[in-house]
């Protein structure tokens, strides 16, 4: 309802009691509620999420992809590095459903195995960036002053670098192991979240429940843990999930440039594409498979992130 509460500054807009209709008290001294069980904000969020079809479908598809990648050893018809020298650069057929590459390796099996590394990189980068970004954002926002100035100057400086050039240089300096790639990508992925978290903390800090906690003598660490963090979950979850998609894309880009995870040890969706760029016209199946795997995964993750935004932060775009 859009009517304002009376009184100057009565900022009650938008947050009408939800879930349970107000039950008037029957003239007695205590008030009571009608529904039997409390409804937590998390359950409300889940309910809202389940109403969003694209997000729910994306969860299902992503689930299949994750299972396929996790159990690649069991599911894939061939090993990731297993060569069939009789079938080099074969198109899709009964044995090799998605064809083979220049070394006679089965394309489908490599996509399944490669998904493991691609997803691992994506998720790990997102988690590291999420942790670092959250920590820096909370500290900067809550303490303010010199701590804030220092941390945010660092963040802004990193954000104002020519990003891709820096990543490429860093990737060249480090090796081509999975963890090198994770390190490089995490290094540039945390700033956005740090700024988002700091901005939200600055507004939360002004909210009266944080002041109330301070007024009760609650220690700073407990305020950050119990009052700030739970109210940041929406922003953090959404940003982290979108970072998963961005990191998968970034890993594939680095691999395409020959700077990602080494193709000699493992397959990743990215290095499958990077190695086969020259065969676009002669063996297009090599480019279709891993490319679609990346696109579908990133698309699902993006849809999930969008669904999370709507369900965890219902104030955004209500009407």
């Amino acid at each position: 309802m859009s009517e304002q509460g009376p009184g100057p500054g009565g900022g009650m807009g938008g947050e009408a009691p939800v879930g349970v209709p107000d039950v008037p008290m029957g003239g007695g001294e205590t008030e009571s509620l009608a529904t039997a069980t409390p409804i937590s904000p998390w359950r409300l969020a889940l309910r809202r999420f389940l109403r969003r079809k694209p997000a729910v479908i994306s969860v299902a598809i992503l689930g299949v992809i994750v299972v396929g990648a996790t159990f690649a050893d069991q599911i894939a018809p061939f090993g990731a590095l297993e060569q069939d020298l009789d079938a080099i650069l074969h198109g899709p057929d009964g044995t090799h459903l998605l064809g083979t590459d220049t070394l006679g390796r089965d394309n489908l099996s490599r996509i399944l195995h490669g998904g493991r590394v691609s997803l691992l990189v994506g998720i790990t980068v997102a988690l590291i960036a999420g942790g670092v970004g959250t920590l820096i954002g909370i500290l900067a926002g809550y303490y303010g002053g010199l701590i804030d100035a220092t941390l945010m100057r660092l963040t802004d400086t990193l954000l104002a670098l020519p990003g891709l050039m820096v990543v490429i240089i860093a990737a060249r300096l480090l090796g081509d192991g999975t963890w090198d790639v994770v390190l490089v990508l995490s290094g540039i992925a945390w700033m956005t979240l740090a700024r988002i978290v700091r901005g939200k903390v600055l507004t939360l800090k002004e909210r009266e429940f944080v002041e109330a906690a301070r007024a009760l003598g609650v220690p700073a660490r407990q305020i950050m843990r119990r009052h700030l963090l739970p109210n940041l979950v929406g922003e953090i979850t959404v940003t982290v999930s979108l970072t998963v998609a961005a990191a998968i894309l970034a890993e594939s880009t680095l691999s395409f440039l020959g700077l990602g995870v080494s193709a000699t040890h493992t397959a990743t969706w990215g290095n499958m594409l990077g190695g086969n760029e020259g065969f676009v016209t002669t063996a297009p199946w090599l480019v279709w498979g891993p490319g679609l795997a990346i696109v579908i995964t990133a698309l699902c993750v993006n849809f999930i992130g969008d669904g999370l935004r709507d369900s965890l932060d219902p104030t955004q775009g209500k009407l």
Binding site: G5, P6, G7, P8, G9, G10, G11, M12, E15, P17, V18, G19, V20, D22, E29, T30, E31, S32, L33, P38, I39, S40, P41, L44, R207, E208, F209, E211, A212, A213, R214, A215, L216, G217, V218, P219, Q222, R226, H227, P230, N231, V233
Partner: protein, 335 residues
């Protein structure tokens, strides 16, 4: 244990429970200085109720936050039971806060939406007395403020505004404070719910012997709740006195103007009341007028007002007024 430690430094002494003297808070930006609170002094006796009234931006809420040291004062002194608070080290500030409870204006912003009522109300207990029977005491507190103890597992979004404000009061009462600061506790509530909360505060004060500092822009509410009243204007107190003195015999032109501006829900008053219409714009607190900050809107302003800031009369007077002409002005007593 925490209890005995906490009570000793703030133990009972003679004199007022709370004595604020020359309190100042300036917020500085690169361009300007905002004198939010500019030399506020008052005392509050144990068991008393003092209303701090004024319009938005007059510094009344800042004063509350300075007393609790949620903000650091620029200058001045706050003594609680004779003990100076403004110079307390940070660690002891936390001990102090146990004795001072606060209820905020907006019941929608003052409760953490991710916590159950049990945790909201119990947090103050858990901090100070982690080993006590928190569940039992939370139930008692909820009942005390007129809520079903079964609410403990609920979340704020399941409650109405009035119910939330009851929770906020229960939270403030949990550590058993001796001073309760209410910062616009009913101004976000509907009229039909306001009365419930005001009555609850009156009951709590009677039953628990609370001392209350009541901050509000609503003169009618303050008249209802407070025995003494201080009127603030642009960071300063311009008049302070007993309820009857301030409401029936205002000595500051600003107080008189405020009183006459309050709409009365009685059509018969419509033509009978003499409304002191203030001319001009409310001055910006970033650029207050010289001398008396009210002079630009004051119907009685004289040359002296522009050059000399009137002092709130010194101690001794029971109804001090910060106006050069307080003794001479023909201010109409209100209905």
């Amino acid at each position: 244990m925490a209890h005995s430690e906490a009570s000793r430094p703030f133990g009972p002494e003679t004199g007022p429970l709370l004595a604020v003297d020359g309190l100042v808070k300036h917020f500085s930006t690169r361009r300007a200085t905002l004198k939010a609170v500019d030399g506020v002094s008052f005392t509050l006796e144990e068991g008393g109720t003092l209303g701090l009234v004024g319009e938005s931006g007059c510094g009344k809420s800042t004063t509350a936050r300075l007393i609790l040291r949620l903000l650091e004062p620029t200058a001045g002194s706050v003594r609680f039971r004779g003990r100076e608070l403004t110079t307390l080290p940070a660690a002891e500030v936390r001990l102090l806060r146990r004795r001072l409870g606060i209820v905020f204006q907006d019941p929608y912003a003052s409760l953490n939406p991710r916590m159950t009522l049990r945790n909201i109300v119990g947090e103050g207990l858990a901090v100070w007395e982690p080993r006590s029977d928190i569940d039992g005491r939370v139930a008692g507190l909820l009942e005390r403020v007129g809520l079903d103890p079964a609410f403990a597992g609920r979340y704020p979004h399941e409650l109405s505004g009035g119910q939330r404000q009851r929770v906020a009061i229960a939270r403030a009462l949990a550590p058993e404070p001796s001073l309760l600061i209410c910062d616009e506790p009913v101004s976000a509530l509907d009229v039909s719910v306001q009365a419930q909360i005001l009555n609850l505060l009156a009951d709590l004060r009677r039953d628990l012997g609370l001392t209350i500092l009541f901050i509000s822009h609503d003169l009618a509410v303050v008249r209802h709740v407070c025995e003494r009243v201080a009127v603030m204007h642009l960071g300063r107190i311009v008049e302070i006195g007993a309820r009857a003195q301030v409401y029936d015999n205002p000595r500051h032109p600003y107080t008189a103007a405020l009183l006459s501006a309050v709409p009365v829900p009685d059509p018969a008053h419509r033509h009978r009341r003499s409304r002191v219409q203030l001319a001009g714009e409310v001055p910006s607190p970033l650029d207050p007028p010289s001398g008396c900050t009210f002079r630009t809107r004051c119907p009685h302003a004289a040359e002296r007002c522009a050059t000399e800031a009137p002092e709130l009369a010194r101690r001794g007077a029971d109804h001090p007024v910060a106006c050069h002409f307080a003794a001479d002005l023909p201010l109409a007593a209100q209905p």
